[in-house]
């Protein structure tokens, strides 16, 4: 079994490398072209916001739960926002249930950083009692089918779920937060973050790598931009590096690819 899959991998790897020399990719995309992105929101009515996102054959379901919580000790004037991710065992033959691997922790933290550092949600508006009680946004992504670039798929799903969520109203009664029935508002959105993940294979930079392409890549980079065209979060991954010129090129690609995705996300508001 094992030997068979290795041969396929090697043949595929050779083919991917050979095509890249001609500026082509295995699935016919241009180097800087993303796979088709489908977004459906409101898929889980019991969540305050939700989205199901397909990016090529990668598929993610994200739910947002909004509930009162204690603020972080050093951030008493801000609400809480936490992103998590899980690769479900049904999503990938190599995924196993259990505590999150370092890859999954990195994934969740990169998604979290993109939303946090762009200041997408105005956390100052989520305070009930300073240093005591705030509204928390819990954004949990379940990967249900994995074919590469989980970073962008989870990021788009999380942003889509946030944009389409409704925020229940809480008031302090007898010193504890209580739900006010039937009063909802839109989330305090300031900007729309868009992450763009790229892989370097040899000298080539490709956008939105598939699982096969990720198996061949030397290094990876995720760059998140905001609606104003600034760079707000970045993470390099993989077991090799980038030259400075490549890093500047990657930032330009992220700024060029971002607006199209942002337009698609804006329609969800």
């Amino acid at each position: 079994m094992m030997a068979d899959s290795v041969i396929v991998e090697q043949l595929k790897r050779d083919r991917i490398l050979e095509l890249l020399k001609q500026g082509k990719r295995l699935d016919g995309r241009r180097l800087e072209e993303q796979r088709p992105l489908y977004i459906e929101t409101g898929v889980i009515p019991k969540a305050n916001g939700s989205a199901r996102v397909r990016l090529g054959d990668t598929e993610v379901v994200t739910g947002v739960k909004i509930q009162p919580d204690k603020p972080f000790p050093d951030l008493g004037d801000k609400g809480i926002l936490i992103c998590t991710a899980e690769i479900l065992p049904l999503a990938d033959p190599n995924a196993e249930p259990g505590p999150p691997t370092e890859e999954v922790i990195e994934l969740a933290r990169v998604v979290d950083r993109g939303i946090r550092e762009t200041e997408m949600i105005d956390l100052h508006q989520l305070v009930l009692v300073e240093n005591k009680s705030v509204i928390g946004f819990f954004i949990d992504s379940s990967i249900i089918d994995a074919d590469g670039n989980l970073f962008d798929a989870c990021s788009y799903a999380s942003v889509a779920a946030l944009l389409s969520c409704t925020v229940p109203k809480y008031e302090i009664k007898d010193e504890v937060p209580a739900l006010v029935e039937g009063v909802n508002s839109k989330p305090p959105v300031k900007t729309i973050p868009v992450s763009v993940t790229m892989a370097r294979i040899g000298e080539h930079i490709i956008v939105d790598p598939t699982a096969d392409e990720e198996a061949c890549m030397n290094a990876r980079i995720t760059i998140t931009t905001n609606s104003e065209g600034n760079i707000c979060a970045l993470q390099k991954g993989g077991s090799d590096g980038f030259t400075v010129d490549q890093l500047i090129k990657c930032s330009e690609i992220a700024l060029a690819v971002g607006p199209k995705i942002r337009k698609q996300l804006e329609q969800l508001m």
Partner: protein
């Protein structure tokens, strides 16, 4: 809120915008480890110890074609103002991963199939930029262990504080500043092997910040080289 920069462009710890904190590195300070280093980087006090190449446990992790690199970045409970839970946090697991990936391109793992090189990093006291300082020590500890490397790895951050791009962000600047960009490079090969960014930069600032951090990495490289020279050739000279 502290004032991060005064009207003369002097930062809250008295530095200029392009000035590193004090950095000192000692090589080979642990008896049991195959290689080790201790770094003081501003208020950071960090130990790095390297074991290997040695047998892999658990065995299934071993790779038949090449050695593997493992890395643990850990903060002591007393290293920060509020006691830190000693169990590894998600932040520490992520940092362990990015440090490993920053060192990996420099280490000739192909020469050591079926073995592991373990890098253990202990942050005894944390200041801003602990991942960069940890990486600087780890790279020296690998060299001290005699592990063949393509290059050293030198790390330093740059950031945006009071609307200016500054070198080597300290703790206050990290907490209250506008952006933090840790970078690691292989100085002789011209490759960036670690890069992260928290905070908002315009495309022009992004380029400046990147170049500023790389300038810092090059200064760190000289300090690393000197520390190795000191250990192996005595007086820091030839």
């Amino acid at each position: 809120m502290t004032q991060l920069m005064n009207e003369n462009g002097i930062r809250c710890d008295g530095r200029k915008v392009d000035q590193l904190r004090n950095v000192s590195i000692k090589v080979g300070i642990l008896k049991n480890a195959d290689g080790s280093a201790y770094i003081e980087f501003g208020q950071n006090k960090i130990l790095a110890g390297v074991f290997g190449p040695r047998d892999v446990h658990p065995k299934h992790m071993a790779n038949q074609d090449r050695g593997i690199l493992r890395c643990r970045y850990h903060m002591s409970p007393f290293s920060v103002t509020e006691r830190k839970n000693p169990a590894p946090s998600r932040r520490e697991i992520e940092i362990s991963k990015v440090i490993k990936e920053a060192l990996q391109p420099a280490v000739l793992l192909k020469d050591f199939p079926r073995t592991v090189i373990d890098v253990f990093i202990e942050v005894l006291q944390a200041d801003g930029g602990s991942r960069c300082a940890a990486l600087d020590a780890a790279s020296i500890a690998l060299a001290d262990a005699g592990i063949p490397m393509r290059d050293l790895v030198s790390a330093c951050a740059a950031g945006k504080v009071a609307d200016q791009i500054v070198l080597d962000v300290n703790n206050e600047e990290d907490q209250e500043g506008q952006a933090d960009m840790p970078i690691a490079i292989m100085p002789n090969l011209g490759k960036v092997t670690l890069m992260q960014l928290d905070g908002i930069l315009t495309p022009a600032e992004y380029k400046t910040c990147l170049q500023t951090a790389i300038g810092g990495c090059k200064q760190i490289y000289e300090i690393q080289r000197k520390a190795l020279m000191e250990k192996y050739f005595g007086n820091g000279g030839q």
